[in-house]
Amino acid sequence: MNFIDVKLLWRDWKGGQLNLVVSALVLAVMVVTAVSLFADRVERGLNQQITSFLASDLTLRGGIEISDDYRAKAQELNLQTADLALFRSMVFAGDNNHLASVKAVSNAYPLRGEVELSDDLEIGKLSNHTNGPASGEAWVEARLFNLLDIKIGDKIEVGYLKLTVTHLIVNEPDRGTGFTAAGARVMMSIDDLPASQLVRPGSRIGYRFLMSGDDRSIETYKKWYQKREDALKNSSELKHFRLVTPENAEEQLADAMQRGRAFLLLSGTIGVLLAGLAMALASQRYASRLTDQVALMKAWGQSTGSIRRSQFVRLFIIASVSTILGMLLGWLSHYMLLEVAKGVLNVELPLPGARPWIVAVVTGFVCVLGFALPALWHLPTIEPLRVLRRDLPDSLLGQGRRLAIGVVSLLVLTYWYSESLITSLLFLGALFALFAVCALVALQFLKLVQNLGSWRGSFVRLGLANLWRRRGQTLVQLVGFSTTLMLLLVVTGLRTNLIAEWEAQLPEDTPSHFLYNVADREVDAVKQVLADSNVTTTPWFPMVRGRLVAINGEAITRERMSQSDGLSREVNFTQTVDLPTSNEIVDGQWWSSPPAGLEFSMEEQVATEIGVGIGDEIEFSVGGIKITATLASIRSVDWQSMNPNFYVVFYPGALDRYAPNWVTAVRAAKSTNVNRGALAKQAPFVSKMVQLYPTAVVLELGDVIARIRDVINRVTQGLELILFLVLICGALVLFAAIGVSYDERLRENAILRTLGSSKKIIIGALAVEFAMLGAIAGLIASMGAEAILFFVQKNVFDMVAQWHPSLWFVGIGSGVVLITVLGLARSRDIITVPPLQSLRQIT
C-alpha cells in the first residue's frame, strides 16, 4: 500500500492539487524556523557570554564606592578580589573625540576568564591576559581607531590624563549584555582614576567589586550577604549594593530573552494563522477532488481502514517534506534577520540548539493536523455507492467544528511559543478582535460598493456583484490581506516617518548639545569658551544625584521602594531661583522670596507616584548625607522641550555643600556639514571644550537621535522581514479563497461566453472585482495603520499626531496592484480555457 500512496501523492502534486497546501505549510514552517533560529542563536550567544559574564565568581555592584565591611568579609574569607569602575567619558586624540565607555580596572582583573588582545587591526596574533592594563596604558576597542583616527602607540586623553594605547581589545570576559548602543570601550588602570579627575560627587559611576575563591568560601560569602540583607529588610538603610552571581545574572537575561523570543514568535504566529487558513481552504478543495477517487477505490474493495491509513501516510509525507523544505528556507532567511541585527548585537553566534528545529517540526505537524486533516477527515468514510449516485451527501466535518480545531491548534502553538497561557489567549484574542473589526468594516464597504455597481457599465456591475454574491469568501480575503498590510504599513511608517516627524516637530530653539559634568570651578571659564564660540545656552543648573529616604519622618522601607521607580533609583536634583522654562506650577507656589526653611519643588508624576502633597516633609540622601525639606510646589514638566529637567528642585543654597556639577543645553548653529561621517561632524566649540575641559561631557542631540533611529530601524526592518513572509501567507489565503469558488466561476464564465460575452468583458469583470477587493483591503489597512500610528504618536512620542498621505497612497495602491495581479494570475484558466473545454472539465 505504501509505494502506491507515494505514487498517487506524486500525481496529485504534479496535477497542481497540492500546491497551495504545500506552499502554505512551507511558509508557516519557514517563518517560525527563521524567527526561532534567530532568537535561539542570539540567546545562546548572550548566554555564552554570561558564563564568564562576571569575570569572577561573585560581583558586588554599587552606585557608590564599595563600603569597607563588604571588603573586610572578603578578606576574612581569603577571597581574591579586584575593583572596577565603569562610566562614560569623552576621550579624545587631536581634534577628534568620542563619548566612550570607560572601564577602570585593578591589576588583578579579570579574576575569571581572560582578556583577549591584539596588536594589529587585522587581528593577526591574539594574546590572552589575566591582568588589566598597567598605569599609563589604555586598551581600546577597534572601532575607536576609526573614530579617533589613531593607531597603536598613540596617546589618547581621558579626563586630565594622557594614556598610551598599547593594545586592541578583541574580547573581554565581562563585556556585558552584548548590546553595543554605548560608546567604544576604553580600559584603563583604576590607579589612574584620581589623576584623571573624572570621579566627582555627581558623576554617574558604576562600581564593581569582583571576588573569586573556592566554592566553600564563595558559599559562605553569599550566605553572609543574604543574612545581612534579610536583617535590613525593614530598615530604611539605603540599598546601595547588589550581589550578582552567575545564576541570577543568567536568570535576568533569560527572562528578557524569553520575552523577546515570545514576541518574535507571536508575530510569526500571524503568518501561521494565515497559512493555516489557506491550508484549510485548499484542503477542502483537495478533498472535493479526492472524493471520486476514494469512492472508486472503495467500490474496488479498499477498506475504510486501509484508506485511512493511506491518508495518514500521504499527510505524513506532505508534512515531512514541507517541514523539511520550510526549515531549509527558514535557515536561509534567518541569516537576513541576523544581518539586520548585526549592528546592535555584538556577540559570537554559536550554532543553534535543537529547540528551533523542534519548534519547526511541531509547527509543521500541528498545522497539518489542525488545518488540513479536518477538511480531509471524512474522505475514508465516503460510501462506495457514490460511484453510482453522485448526489449522495459527503459527511464533511461541520464548519464550526473545523474552525474550533483550527483555533485550538493555534492556541496550542502560541501557548507553546510563549510558554504563557495568558499571553497566548490575549494575543489570539486581540488578533481575532482585529479580524472581527476588519470584517465588520469590510462588510460596510462591500454594501456601499454593491450599491455603486447598480448604475455602472456592464462588466463593472458584473464584477461588483460577484464581490457581494460571494461575500463570505470576499471577507476572508479582505481580512487576511488587510490585517497583514496594516501591520506592514505600521512598521514601515514607524521606520520611515515617525522619527523624522518627531524631529521636525521639535521647536526651533531645541538645543543641539547637552553639556554636563562641568566642575564648579570650571563653569565661568566654560561659559567664556561658549560665548567666544558664538553659541547660546539655556540657563546653567547645578546638579547632584540623590534619593528619597523618608516622608514625614517615616522611613521608606525597602519594600516600599521596590514598588516605585521614583523611590528606588537615584534622581537628579538641582537648585534655582527662577522656575525653569517649560515647567508649570500645578500645585503650591513657586518662591517669590527666600523661604524660611529648606523647601523644594517636585515633578508632578513622581509626586503622584509616591503620594506626597504640599507641606509634606521629605528627607533626602545625597551621597550619604541627609537633608530634610518641605514640599512647596508641584510642577508639570514638558520633557519634549529637551531642556535640562529635574524631578526635584530646591531653593538655592540647599545643595551648595554637595559640590554639584553643572549642566546646560547648548544651541549651536545647525551643522552645515553634509558629510556627517565619524570624523567630520563636530560643531567647532565641541573640540575646544573637550580639549580645555576634558572631564566635561558633550552629548550631541543629533547623535542620540541617530542612535535611537538606528535601533528603531533595525527592529522594524527585522519585523518587516517577518511581516513580508506573513504577507505572502496572506496572498496564499487569496489564492485559496479564489480556489473555493473556482469551479463555479469556471462554469459561470463558460456559460457567459457561450452566451456571447466577449473575453474582454470577463477579464474586465474579474479585474474590477479584484481591484475593488484590493482597494477595500488597502483602505482598511491604511485606516488601521493610521489609527495605530496616531496612538503611537500621541501616547508614546507625546507629539501632535499627523496624517500620513503617503501611507494611504501606498496602502491602497499596493492593495489594488497586489490583489489584481495575483487574482488575475490565479484566474487565468477561467479566462483562457475555451468555454467548451471548461464546461467539459466540470461535468
Binding site: 500500500m1 496535477g15 477517487q293 474496488w300 474493495g301 477498506s303
Partner: protein, 227 residues
C-alpha cells in the same frame, strides 16, 4: 445446470424521505449464472441502478438476501463486502469515472496496483492495446474523447479479471455510433475473459445482445427472459 454466481432472494429497498417512506425496489428475486451476460432494463427511475448497486455489494437492501458465489453479502458488514468486491467485482460507469490526474496507463493499472498485483503496468499496457489505445498510454482523460475514455474504463475493468463486471449505462453518455463500438468492445472482451456481465441499459439493442434480460418497472421485477 451451471453454477449460479449471483443470487437475490426477496430483495427490497426502501428509503425514508422527508414525508413518507419510498419503496425503490420491492421483493426482487433473481439468479445469474457464472459466465452469463445479463441486461437489466426498464424506464428511467425504475430502480435499475439501485438494483445494480445492491447486487454489487455497494449498498445493503432493507429486506432480502444476496449471494455472490458462496458469500452471502447481506450477512456481512461493509468491510466484509469490500473484501468480496476486491476479489470478484469490476465496474464500468456511464460517466467513465477516470481519475483526471492520472494518465490512461495509470488509470488502468491503479486498481491492480491497489490489490498488490505485480505486473500491473504490463497488463495495463496489454489491455489498452486490446481496446486500441496503444498510442495513447500517457494521455490524460481530458485529452481523450468520450468514447476513448470509456475504452480506457473498459480496459481498466477487464484488466483486473473480475468474476463479475457491473456496467451502469456504459453507452449512455455516447453518441450512437460510438456507443455501438463500445458495446462491441464490451462483448468482445467479455467473451474472451468468460466474465459474468451485469449490464444496466435502457437501449433495447444493447440488451438484446445479452443472454438474459431482466425487466423491472417501478421497483418490481417484471420478467427474466433467457434466450
Amino acid at each position: 445446470m451451471t453454477q449460479s454466481i449471483l443470487r437475490a432472494q426477496g430483495v427490497s429497498k426502501r428509503v425514508r424521505t422527508a414525508d413518507h417512506d419510498l419503496t425503490i425496489l420491492d421483493d426482487v428475486s433473481l439468479d445469474i449464472k457464472l459466465g452469463q451476460s445479463v441486461a437489466i432494463i426498464g424506464p428511467s427511475g425504475a430502480g435499475k441502478s439501485t438494483l445494480l448497486g445492491l447486487l454489487a455489494g455497494l449498498d445493503t437492501p432493507t429486506d432480502g438476501e444476496i449471494w455472490m458465489g458462496e458469500h452471502q453479502i447481506t450477512a456481512t458488514n461493509e468491510e466484509g463486502r469490500a473484501a468480496i468486491r476486491a476479489k470478484m467485482v469490476g465496474f464500468v460507469f456511464q460517466t467513465f469515472q477516470l481519475l483526471g490526474s492520472l494518465t490512461a496507463l495509470e488509470n488502468v493499472s491503479l486498481p491492480m496496483e491497489l490489490s498488490g498485483q505485480r505486473d500491473a503496468r504490463q497488463r495495463a499496457t496489454e489491455y489498452l492495446a486490446k481496446v486500441g489505445l496503444a498510442e495513447r498510454l500517457s494521455h490524460y482523460p481530458k485529452q481523450l474523447s468520450g468514447g476513448e475514455q470509456q475504452r480506457v474504463a473498459l480496459a481498466r475493468a477487464f484488466a483486473c479479471s473480475p468474476k463479475i463486471l457491473f456496467a451502469d449505462e456504459p453507452t449512455g453518455n455516447l453518441d450512437q455510433a460510438t456507443g455501438l463500438k463500445i458495446s462491441d468492445l464490451l462483448f468482445d472482451l467479455n467473451r474472451q475473459s468468460d466474465t459474468t456481465l451485469v449490464l444496466v441499459t435502457h437501449e433495447q439493442r444493447l440488451a438484446e445482445r445479452c443472454e438474459s434480460i431482466i425487466t423491472i418497472d417501478d421497483g418490481r421485477l417484471l420478467s427474466q427472459v433467457t434466450s
